[in-house]
């Protein structure tokens, strides 16, 4: 019945590069945890909330700790895929900032412990782009071909919806269509839809303006001081990634020990220093070596934060509508282009078929003629 008798291994499933791994002279968090508790960590990574969801949904593997984003947590809760936590085993929960408790996705603080939080804003290159205050900048034709856009529907739609003044959590089809139209209108201006390529492209001024996460801006800014960050006036996404325990977990106590450890100051500080994202743990923000400018963006004032909106989980129907609208935007349903391809493909196939048919027909005819000749000769 003691903790020691239980198999001392937990499976942790986290985003890639989302934990301090001992590089840059920081704490190796997982190793420190093992050292402190004797519990081994099987650590693996995913690249998006959706792949995490797929992996969980498919089944066949049991994870003890996962770290989805807010809207995904709500979805997982509504589908009964998370276990309630025993906060008695997570004493460090006390050090989580109050503003990260009683959230929309977990109103009663039953399922999750915040890991990081962050904001989405607009990063732009001050050399080429005038001071940005609004989402409208992403639709500014002056920057045509130098605009990057999110390569996932939720963030992309949110940007359009905020620009239109629509609720980012709307499930209304006409709202979604309006957002999609705006995105479609933006498409000719967009250089490409990207995620992590933002770093390279912004740092090297390959692109001039892009919506992205505030924490990542700090990294880019250190490489290229020309870059600036803006919290758009219409509002912006404020997200929280939080640690949860899925129902498939078989080792809940150890998982809670892990969550507790992650809330400890040392671990949280190391992670925050490594990733650059906002730590919800009290005191961590102050301990980081940040310039004033950086701090203002990574840990903005409450006034700014009050404009932040969280994503809520959307209904299945709304998700499907959004996905298919997004696909339409991405694939450019403008008929001319696909008709061209269809005609080209068909032409190639038909020419080949006609040529082959002609050849074999000719062969057959000649053979028949020869046979007839031979018969005649006889």
């Amino acid at each position: 019945e003691t903790a020691a008798a239980k198999p001392a291994v937990i499976n942790v499933y986290n985003w890639g590069q989302y934990i301090s791994d001992g590089s840059d002279g920081l704490l190796d968090v997982n190793a420190a945890f093992t050292e402190a508790t004797g519990i081994e960590v099987n650590y693996s990574t995913y690249e998006s909330n959706e792949s995490l969801y797929t992996k969980l949904k498919t089944g066949g593997s049991s994870y003890d700790v996962i770290i989805p984003s807010d809207y995904m947590i709500a979805r997982l809760i509504s589908e009964g895929m998370l276990q309630k936590l025993n906060y008695d085993n997570i004493p460090n929960y006390a050090s989580i900032g109050e503003s990260f408790k009683n959230t929309l996705y977990d109103p009663n603080n039953e399922y999750s412990v915040p890991y990081f939080w962050g904001t989405v804003g607009i990063i732009y290159n001050t050399r080429y782009v005038d001071t940005v205050t609004s989402w409208d900048a992403l639709w500014d034709e002056r920057y045509s071909g130098k605009i990057l856009m999110f390569d996932n529907p939720r963030d992309a739609f949110a940007a359009a919806e905020l620009a239109l003044g629509i609720d980012v959590n709307t499930e209304d089809e006409s709202d979604l269509r309006a957002a999609a139209e705006l995105l479609a209108a933006q498409k000719p201006l967009v250089q490409s839809y990207v995620m992590d390529q933002v770093f390279d492209q912004m740092e090297r001024a390959e692109a001039w303006i892009a919506p992205y996460y505030a924490g990542d801006f700090i990294t880019m800014h250190r490489e290229n001081p020309d870059l600036a960050f803006c919290f758009p006036e219409e509002g912006f996404n404020l997200y929280i990634d939080a640690m949860c325990i899925p129902t498939s977990s078989t080792n809940k106590e150890a998982a809670e020990a892990y969550i507790n450890f992650m809330c400890s100051f040392e671990a949280a500080a190391a992670n925050a220093a490594y990733t650059g994202y906002g730590s919800p743990v009290n005191g961590v923000a102050e301990s980081l070596e940040l310039t004033e400018y950086e701090r203002g963006i990574a840990y903005p004032s409450d006034e700014i934060l009050s404009k932040g909106v969280a994503y809520l989980t959307l209904s299945k129907e709304a998700t499907q509508i959004m996905d298919s609208l997004w696909l339409d935007v991405r694939t450019d349903a403008s008929t001319t282009s696909w008709v061209t391809y269809a005609v080209a493909t068909a032409a190639v196939v038909i020419i080949a078929a006609v040529y082959l048919a002609y050849r074999s027909n000719k062969k057959r005819k000649r053979a028949a003629k020869r046979r007839a000749d031979a018969d005649g000769a006889r």
Binding site: R366, A367, K369, R370, R371, D373, A374, A377
Partner: protein, 383 residues
């Protein structure tokens, strides 16, 4: 007919410093059926490839109709080849294989139809036009290869062991067919084989080669009856090859006995090789007037029996249609014309020894046997 068409002059071929052809001189007349005969690896294919234009000799000249053609590529020579393994195009059917050369020459389809039909008749393959090459038997493939080469009306046809893959019966039939075609069309054939019977049966001229060197050139009768050295004698049919000494013109000493012969022009007492063909030996009752020996082996060969006779420890092969028991004591009789005298050569002593035929394998090496124990008893054996 006697007009010279192709001449090889001092042709030498080296691969990696190894001499493959050594100073080959060869003249081929228009309309001739010339055969290159020799054991495997002797350079027959190499010679043919020089003529066909697939290989330039390392040194030496090749003339065609008096023009030097060393550098003329094969597709510009009026010479066609039937390859050792036919080299038919597997992606084409019989008709298209035969029509290949004409299509390359951009002949009109109508004419192609006509000429292919003609060729198919010539090689008795009408009705096979649409067949895949892979669905033909060896003999049929052979005939397609012939038709494919002949349709281009070459002045010279090169044939590289075209019958090697066929079985005995088919080979005989194809030999006749090839000979017939050659006569009918009057084309020069240069034919490669390692089968001496084939060479003798088909050719006007036989060129015997070994180790990259031409050993003898002559008509089949010449080569068979008057071999120039032990290699030729042995390669062209079975031979008993004996050491002899030329006592004077028309008189040779073997086994310490004197035999009449018809050859002359050797130095007195010159050591020579003496060839006696197994079928030229007549068996007679044993008596003192003849060389006598004991039969030590008999093999039935269909046409005849191979008989091994021991004369004072040296074993002869004799071919006869009459059966003689092992152990019987017989005499032999050889016409002076059947005794062929050859100069000694590098090949002397290497061939013409039938000792391995008998069970008493080691006896030949018995030093106690002295040849010609009873010399001078008679001047010579009469024929």
């Amino acid at each position: 007919m006697a007009k010279e068409l192709i001449r090889l002059e001092d042709c030498v071929v080296r691969f990696d410093d190894e001499v493959i052809l050594d100073s080959v001189n060869l003249k081929i007349n228009d309309g001739e059926f010339l055969t290159l005969l020799g054991p495997s690896g002797c350079g027959k294919t190499t010679t043919l490839r020089i003529i066909g234009g697939f290989l330039e000799p390392t040194s030496g000249n090749v003339y065609f109709d008096g023009v030097r053609i060393n550098h003329i590529p094969s597709h510009k020579r009026k010479i066609n080849t039937i390859f050792q393994r036919y080299a038919l195009f597997p992606h084409l059917n019989v008709f298209d294989n035969i029509a290949f050369g004409l299509r390359v020459a951009k002949v009109k389809e109508d004419e192609i139809d006509e000429r292919v039909a003609e060729m198919l008749k010539l090689v008795s393959l009408r009705g096979f036009e649409e067949r895949k090459i892979t669905a033909l038997s060896g003999g049929q493939q052979q005939r397609v290869a012939i038709a494919r080469a002949l349709i281009n009306k070459p002045k010279v046809l090169l044939l590289d062991e075209p019958l090697g893959a066929l079985d005995m019966r088919l080979r005989k039939d194809m030999q006749n067919e090839l000979k017939r075609i050659q006569k009918q069309l009057g084309i020069t054939f240069i034919y490669v084989t390692h089968d001496q019977e084939e060479a003798l049966a088909m050719s006007d001229t036989v060129v015997v080669m070994d180790k990259g060197v031409i050993q003898q050139i002559g008509t089949p009768q010449d080569v068979y009856n008057e071999p120039k050295n032990a290699f030729v004698a042995d390669f062209i049919g079975e031979s008993n090859i004996l050491d002899g000494v030329m006592l004077s013109d028309k008189l040779v000493l073997m086994f310490g006995r004197k035999f009449k012969c018809v050859d002359k022009g050797f130095a007195a007492n010159e050591p020579v090789d003496v060839v006696i063909r197994p079928e030229d030996v007549d068996i007679v009752p044993a008596d003192s007037r003849h060389l006598c020996g004991t039969v030590t082996g008999v093999t039935f060969k269909g046409l005849h029996y191979d008989i091994i006779v021991d004369f004072y420890g040296f074993k002869w092969l004799i071919q006869t249609t009459d059966y003689h028991e092992v152990g019987s004591y017989i005499g032999i009789d050889i016409h002076p014309e059947e005794i062929h005298i050859m100069k000694k050569s590098a090949y002397s002593g290497m061939f013409g020894d039938y000792s391995s035929y008998s069970e008493e394998y080691d006896e030949i090496n018995d030093p106690s046997i002295v040849y010609g124990e009873d010399p001078g008893e008679e001047e010579y054996y009469e024929s």
